[in-house]
């Protein structure tokens, strides 16, 4: 494990703000059906989050810096949701309504889990 208690916590904050916040950008403001105009933006949020890389890839890249939080249930849940989102990508990009609806839920789930992780980390002090 590289890093220190402080840097692990920073990495979690980074994850919550860089990935969590942006993944949920469109999703948390849409209910039910995804309006066609918003679909490309939703796809961008999940598959090209913030700097062109998919959120799942960002998560994987940040994982070594998370220290023990890489195994935290919230992190695992977020990763799980992103993996499911990855499997949906072809259908979502084809603008299949069911896939887009599912993507909406997954994006909200990811944001929610990463925020919860950030709060938990703040509460606990070091791991």
């Amino acid at each position: 494990m590289t890093g220190t208690p402080t840097s692990h916590r920073e990495a979690v904050a980074r994850l919550a703000h860089d990935v969590g916040k942006y993944v949920g950008r469109i999703a948390r403001n849409v209910d039910g059906e995804v309006p066609p105009a918003l679909a490309p933006l939703l796809l961008k949020d999940v598959y090209e989050t913030h700097d062109g890389r998919p959120a799942l890839a960002r998560l994987a890249a940040l994982a070594p810096a998370l220290g023990p939080y890489a195994e935290h249930p919230c992190l695992l849940a977020a990763r799980d949701a992103l993996q499911r989102a990855a499997r949906l990508e072809p259908a979502a990009r084809a603008l299949d309504p069911a896939a887009l609806r599912a993507l909406l839920d997954l994006a909200r789930e990811v944001e929610s889990q990463l925020r919860a992780l950030a709060r938990a980390v703040h509460d606990e002090g070091a791991p």
Binding site: T4, R28, P68, H72, R108, R115, R119, E124, G125, P127
Partner: protein, 513 residues
């Protein structure tokens, strides 16, 4: 020592743990060799790093010198229970014990022996042998015997090597590989050293107390406690108990779907039995914290949590047979465990924060002034200015105290080398940055004109403790600077940390469920 190609991480880990249980010197390498990408490897790494921090801190504290020289060693059992020690630390530890615990040469000797059994570099081995044979070991005949055997074996190897070298030189310019010291094969020495290691546990056995009390009384346990509490909370309380919350709430309302029910049962009753998992955590606490805590009898929070766990385990058959009877009891036990989790969270949050106040600074100054060299220095002025209320930084108390003691000791000894007036002032200031963050600065001012630069501090070896200060600061996103100071002081050594703030407010209203 690397795993065979067909060995899985789990097998490698099992083997590594077995070596450690036997206190085999190869344990550390085996732990490091477990594939770090696997969960077992990550666990090994976590524990090695946590223990490493403690071992290094023990060495640093021994070298820094404290009035009660056995105090740093109290942290050793905790570290020994977490993970094996890096063999590279054996020699520094042995030397630190030899130099700063002259009343207990046997302990030092044991570490010299472990060092020699770990396949050390030739020159260091030679130095170690020279040093250990000079120790007075009449109080422990077995250790004396081990040392004697080791020394004999080493001398024999040396003679053989010297003879070989002479032959080789006569024969021509070829490189002769020198055989590894014969000590590795010296089962007697290792065996005795291993048995002796068991005796390194603190002789005094105080009555165990609650976790919270132990953490109040023994700040050196904080890193280990933080690690253990984190593990308990993540693995048991969050992943199993906490994860079942929503499903349980639905069950209580009578609205649980079949998948929710299955999920709840899976979390609570599936996999490793709850009681066994709980017991595992409890034993980890006991191994690491030793007789200082008694979580089974003297810690009410843990006792109640244990009862709640047992209750949940008991309810499994009833939940199937008579849900309406089982569910309220399940909900109650669950609520008690959530409360226990909150309490642990509060404890952990306290541990990695330190209140920076006058009491802290006085404790540091008193400790340093009672050390021999510092006590010889007559200060003409000692000012302590710490007035900001509720000031906390995110640093383990043991580490902050270690850093401050080093700075204060250096200042006192520096002014001690100068003529009067000898002045020392310690103050704290908090400044608001343009970013809205707050910087906490702890200044140690002294009247010694001796030059000291931040670079010199960073590059210095651990001899005067300042090299370790740099390492500790890097761990905490802290910084150190040296500036000239006015007002009758020559310089100010300033520690800088960001102020620790409370977490963001209550969950957002639109938070997804």
């Amino acid at each position: 020592m690397s795993p065979t190609r067909t060995e899985s991480p789990r097998e490698a880990w099992a083997r590594a743990e077995a070596l450690w249980r036997e206190r085999d010197v190869r344990a550390y390498a085996a732990w490091r060799a477990v594939d770090p990408a696997s969960p077992e490897g990550r666990e090994a790494e976590r524990r090695l790093d946590a223990a490493d921090a403690i071992y290094r801190s023990v060495i640093a504290r021994l070298r820094a010198g404290e009035p009660d020289a056995s105090a740093p060693l109290a942290a050793l059992p905790g570290a020994l229970a977490l993970a094996p020690i890096d063999p590279r630390l054996y020699l520094p530890l042995a030397r630190a014990l030899r130099d700063h615990q002259p009343s207990d040469p046997v302990r030092a000797a044991r570490y010299y022996l472990r060092f020699l059994a770990s396949g050390p570099d030739e020159d260091e081995a030679r130095a170690a042998v020279r040093e250990v044979r000079a120790l007075p070991l009449d109080t422990s005949p077995e250790t004396a015997a081990s040392v004697a055997a080791t020394v004999r074996a080493f001398d024999a190897t040396e003679r053989r090597d010297t003879a070989r070298e002479a032959t080789a030189r006569a024969a021509g310019p070829t490189v002769t590989a020198l055989p590894a010291p014969a000590l590795l094969a010296s089962g007697v020495a290792v065996g005795l050293a291993l048995a002796a290691l068991g005796g390194l546990l603190v002789a005094r056995r105080p009555r165990g107390t609650s976790l919270e009390r132990a953490s109040d009384e023994a700040p050196e346990l904080h890193p280990a406690i933080t690690y253990l509490v984190g593990g308990l909370r993540h693995e048991l309380l969050k992943h199993r108990i906490g994860a079942a919350s929503d499903a349980l709430a639905a069950l209580v309302r009578g609205r649980a779907t079949a998948p929710q029910r299955a999920f709840l049962e899976g979390r609570l009753f599936g996999g490793e039995p709850l009681l066994a998992a709980w017991e595992g955590h409890l034993r980890a606490f006991e191994r690491a914290l030793g007789p200082r805590v008694d979580l089974r009898r003297r810690d009410r929070a843990f006792r109640e949590a244990a009862r709640a766990i047992a209750e949940i385990a008991r309810l499994e058959p009833l939940l199937a047979r008579d849900p309406s009877a089982a569910i309220p009891r399940l909900a109650q036990a669950h609520a008690r465990l959530r409360a226990f989790d909150d309490r642990l969270a509060a404890l952990a949050a306290r541990l990695v924060r330190t209140r920076v106040d006058e009491a802290l600074v006085r404790e540091v100054v008193d400790a340093v002034q009672s050390e021999y060299s510092a006590s010889l220095v007559a200060l003409d002025e000692l000012r302590i200015d710490v007035t900001e209320p509720d000031l906390e930084v995110e640093v383990f108390r043991v580490d902050l105290v270690l850093i401050l003691k080093n700075l204060v000791r250096n200042a006192i000894l520096a002014v001690g080398r100068e003529p009067a007036p000898r002045r020392l002032a310690i103050g704290v200031s908090v400044d608001l940055e343009a970013t809205g963050e707050e910087l906490v600065r702890i200044h140690v001012r002294d009247s010694s004109p001796e030059t000291l630069t931040a670079d010199a501090i960073r590059e210095r070896r651990a001899d005067r403790g300042l090299g370790l200060v740099s390492a500790a600061l890097a761990r905490y996103d802290g910084a150190l600077s040296v500036e000239p100071a006015g007002d009758g002081y020559a310089k100010a050594v300033t520690l800088r940390f960001f102020r620790a703030l409370e977490r963001p407010d209550a969950p957002h209203a639109a938070e997804a469920t």
